[in-house]
Amino acid sequence: MPGAWILAAVLLGAAGAALGFWFARRRQRNLESLRSRLVAVTQSSRQTGDNIAHDLRTPLTRLHADVETTLRSEDNEAHRATLERVLTEIHGMQNIISALLTLGQAEAGGMPVKKRVVDISVLLEEILELYGPSAEERQLRLQGRIAPQIQVEADRQLLARIFSNLLDNALKYVPANGLVVLSATTKGGEVVITVEDDGPGIPVEMRDKIFERFTRLDSSRTLSGGAGGSGLGLSLVKAFARLLQGDVRAEESRLGGAAFIVTLPAATAGSSRPAP
């Protein structure tokens, strides 16, 4: 990524130079804005790199210590227990890497999107049904306020991943006895789907940042009950929403907690037929 920016900067610089003197001021502005973008990109990618290294080093260090200690023991049971932990750690690292690869692919536009007319009302009801028992187990009330027969032109799997991620979060971050509401309506040519709760919410200054890779609120890091996470879920949500020509933002919910608002273009009359 930074490579492409540097190349672009060089090309633009060269082209600019050829444009002559009276264009110089404008060129300078271009170069200036390009330079600041370049700095921002390199910084963010360096930060991302640091985070990946950190996110993988922590489990690797744990693995290393665990395996080393176990190797010194002769106990078969201990060996087995270690191997099981090793498997869990590997699984976690694979998830991080998968999410990063998917993100890279989605953001670079390399991800094939199978767009069909989807009745998103039906899909959301299905997701509610899928998450219902888990919410109940965590003593959360999960409610749906979904207008019927809302059609979007989208990829069913990507849609499901968006709302599955948002509900995963609600289940993780809303304390017991809380309320989570999934609602959907159409406004103009837009479909608006909201996942909101009465949990701790997202502080104003974090509402954009939260969609960046590896961002987690400090309060979540220290959350009891092992609510682990790598801070990639919402970046995926954003990337998927954009792949579907939509977007997502965080606000404060009327319920007092976080509201994640996903907007998608409504399907038009001329859209392709629903999947058989």
């Binding site: 099981e84 498997l87 699984h91 694979q94 998968s98 690869l101 998917t102 692919q105 991800m111 094939p112 199978k114 299905e126 049904e129 899928l130 998450y131 028992p133 888990s134 109940e136 187990e137 799997q157 499901a160 991943r161 599955s164 991620n165 509900l167 995963d168 289940l171 993780k172 996470g229 879920g233």
Partner: protein, 227 residues
Amino acid sequence: MKLLIVEDDVAAAGLLKRGLEESGYAVDLAHDGEQGLKLARAGGHSLWVIDIMLPELDGLSMLKALRDEGRGAPALILSALGKVDDRVEGLRAGGDDYMVKPYAFAELLARVEALLRRSRSFGGGPDTLLEFADLKIDLLSRTVTRAGQKIDLQPREFSLLECLMRHAGQVVTRTMLLEIVWEYFFDPQTNVVDVHISRLRQKIDKNFSLPLLHTVRGAGYVLRVDA
């Protein structure tokens, strides 16, 4: 029973071979598409495990050639991560199931067994009555009984049980259940499937002395009569 693995990553293929052999299968190994084609044509395999990205001849072309020759062994396609389109392409080329790398061996084994069983029971026509121990389900009337006693299930619980019954005696993974019962090809972080299963278990096992639905740690679920 003999299986064919076509996988160019020598280390991965070796581990896979060892795992499958430990599970009681004989395994032939090929490291490129041409060699795979040759071995598959020689015949005798009950199932093919084929990686898509292969030197010489890619996995999909290889599979397509075999299907065009009328060879019908079930094929499990493996593909690198993130190629969403591969699923469709793989199934179109004649694959029967599809997995994304990196996969867990338990997941692969479960799928291999499901495919082998499906191909064995081929030709029997679609069953509308499934039975396991004293559990019976009727797919037409969508009713369930255990020891003659009627059990009320939610539609989704019924589909879960149907899936487990079709693979009775074999491990069915969470990922397989999400794919078959919900048609989602990704894994949520929350243990959504586990909770649905525990509700199903409440209904089919709770009032009976012999438990049928078991959890296999790190793998999934199985319907089994434990000795």
